[in-house]
Amino acid sequence: MNAQAYNFAYLDEQTKRMIRRAILKGLAIPGYQVPFASREMPMPYGWGTGGVQVTAACLVPEDKLKVIDQGADDTTNAVSIRKFFEKTAGVEVTEATGEASLIQTRHRIPEQDLSKDQILVYQVPIPEPLRFLEPRETETRKMHELEEYGLMHVKLYEDISRHGEISTSYAYPVKVEGRYIMDPSPIPKFDNPKLSDSSAIQLFGAGREQRIYALPPYTDVQSLDFEDYPFEVSKAPHDCDLCGAKDTYLDEVITDDAGSRMYVCSDTDFCSTRRQNGHVGRLGTPVSSEVA
C-alpha cells in the first residue's frame, strides 16, 4: 500500500469538513452530543473509529501524534492507529506526552498536565450516559434538551443501595458547565478531575453511534454525586513500584507463577520519564541518567 493512494489522513476533504463542523458545534455547546455521518474506516468499530475520524479531521502535516490505549503506547490498538496515520498522513509520531500536539486515547488521560497547544481525542463506545436506564433515544434527547437529569442520579442511587457506595469506577458521569450531562468515555474515575479546567481541547468521537462532543479549554466539569456520598477519587494504597510515584493511576501486574504482583503507572511515558529523571520505586532499578 502506498500513501499516495489516500487523501491526507485517509478521509476525503469533504468528509473532514463535515466532521470539523460537528467538532466546532461541539466546542460551542460543551458536552452536547452532535450527530455526524460516521464513515467506514478500514478497522473494526471496537478500535475507536470515532476517535480516528476526529483525529483525521484535526491533523495537519506539522502535527506530532501520540496514541495511547490504557495509558500505553505499545498495545496493538495504539500501534495500529499510530501506524495508520504515519502511513496516511505522514505525520511525525511520538510517545512523549509533552511533545505531542495531538493525542488520541482510549481509557486514560495522561498524568502530565496538558498544555493549550494540545488536543486530546477520546475514543467513545457509548456516548449516551442515560442509555443505561432509558433505552429510548427520543426520550434521552428530550431529557438533555429539557435538562431532566434525575435519572442519572437514579443510577448512582442504585449503586449505593447495592454496593454501599457509588461503585461506578469508570465512565463516571459528569456535568459540563452546569448544563449537559456527559459520558467521559471509559476512563477511570481517577481521571475525572483532569477533565475539568484543562488547558487542552478535549474531543470525543463515537463511530458506531455517530456522535461527537467536546470540551473547550478551561471548561468546568463536575462529577455527579450525592451530598452524603461525595465523589471521591479512589487511589490504590500503593506507590508505583518502578518510579515511586504516589499519585498516579496504577496497573496491577502479576510477576510470577507464585502470584507475586507489582503496581506500576498505567501511563508508561510518565513512568519512564520519571525513571529517566532518577526516581526509583520499590522494585525499580536506577536508570542511568547519562544521555547518550
Binding site: V154, Y157, S161
Partner: protein, 265 residues
C-alpha cells in the same frame, strides 16, 4: 360526622376550581376520541369517569394529563392555561404537582430499577441530592403502601401485580402531588387484590386531601372513591353529578343501562 364531612366539602367547593376544562375535543382522524367535554374539578375532590370500553375515557384523561394535545378546548390548572405552557413547564408539572397512575404498572414503573430507586426518582428529578433522605422517604412510602421495607432493594419485576400497582402509587405520591390522574388503576387485578388496593387508595386520598380524576369501567370503584361522576358514551359526557345521585337515580338511559348491568353481577 357525615355532616362535618359535607361541611368540609361544601367549603372546598367554594374555592376556585383546581382544574377547569372547557369544550375539550380530541379526534383520531375523522373518529371522535372525545368531544364537548366541560367540567370543573375542585380541590380535594375525586371525580370518576365511567363508561363502557371505547367511550373515550382514556382519551380524555390523556388529553388532560398532557400526554397528547387536544384538537379543541381549553384546560386551566389554577388559572394557568395548560395548553399554552412550554413543554418543559408541562413536564415539570407532571413531575411535581401532578401524577399519573397507569393501568399497567409496567407503563408507570422502571422494572430494571429497585423499588427504592423507583420511589426516589421523582425526588431526584426535582433536585434531591441526599441519599439518606431519599432512602428515608422511600422507606416511608413503601410502608404507606404496605410494601415490606426489606423489599426496598428488590426490583419490581419480582413483585406481584398488586404490589407493582402499590409501588407505582408510592412512586407517584412521594413528591406530594395535588392532582392525580388514574386510568383503571384496579384493572387487571384479582378481585381480592382490587379490594385491598381500593381501600388503600381511599385512605391515601382522604389523608392527603388529593384531587383525583379516576377513569374506570367498574362502578364499584367509583362508588367507593368518587365524590362526583361523569358518564361517557361515544366520546361525550351524557350525565354528571354527585356519585350517589347518579348511581341511585340515573337520569340518562345509558347510565340506567350501566347501573343495571352492574346490579346483575
Amino acid at each position: 360526622m357525615t355532616a362535618a364531612v359535607a361541611q368540609i366539602q361544601t367549603n372546598s367547593i367554594e374555592d376556585a376550581p383546581l382544574l377547569k376544562v372547557q369544550n375539550l375535543a380530541k379526534f383520531y382522524g375523522s373518529r371522535v376520541g372525545c368531544q364537548n367535554v366541560s367540567f370543573d374539578l375542585f380541590p380535594g375532590e375525586v371525580l370518576g369517569i365511567v363508561g363502557e370500553s371505547g367511550s373515550g375515557k382514556s382519551t380524555l384523561l390523556a388529553a388532560l394529563a398532557g400526554h397528547h394535545q387536544p384538537d379543541r378546548g381549553t384546560i386551566h390548572y389554577r388559572d394557568q392555561d395548560i395548553l399554552a405552557l412550554q413543554e418543559s413547564e408541562r413536564r415539570r408539572l407532571s413531575r411535581t404537582e401532578w401524577a399519573f397512575v397507569h393501568q399497567n404498572p409496567r407503563d408507570g414503573l422502571r422494572l430494571g430499577v429497585s423499588a427504592g430507586g423507583n420511589v426516589g426518582e421523582r425526588l431526584m428529578s426535582v433536585g434531591s441530592r441526599h441519599y439518606g433522605n431519599i432512602r428515608t422517604q422511600a422507606l416511608d412510602w413503601l410502608e404507606r403502601v404496605e410494601i415490606s421495607p426489606d423489599r426496598i432493594d428488590d426490583r419490581p419485576s419480582s413483585f406481584s401485580g398488586g404490589m407493582q400497582q402499590r409501588l407505582q402509587i408510592a412512586r407517584n405520591l412521594v413528591t406530594s402531588p395535588k392532582l392525580v390522574f388514574m386510568d383503571e388503576p384496579t384493572g387487571g387485578l384479582d378481585v381480592s387484590v382490587q379490594a385491598r388496593l381500593l381501600d388503600l387508595l381511599r385512605g391515601l386520598v382522604r389523608t392527603l386531601g388529593l384531587s383525583v380524576i379516576i377513569v374506570t369501567h367498574d362502578l364499584a370503584v367509583v362508588r367507593l372513591l368518587a365524590d362526583r361522576l361523569m358518564v361517557m358514551k361515544s366520546g361525550e359526557v351524557v350525565e354528571q353529578g354527585l356519585t350517589d345521585q347518579v348511581l341511585d337515580d340515573p337520569q340518562h338511559g345509558y347510565t340506567q343501562l350501566l347501573v343495571s348491568s352492574v346490579l346483575q353481577v
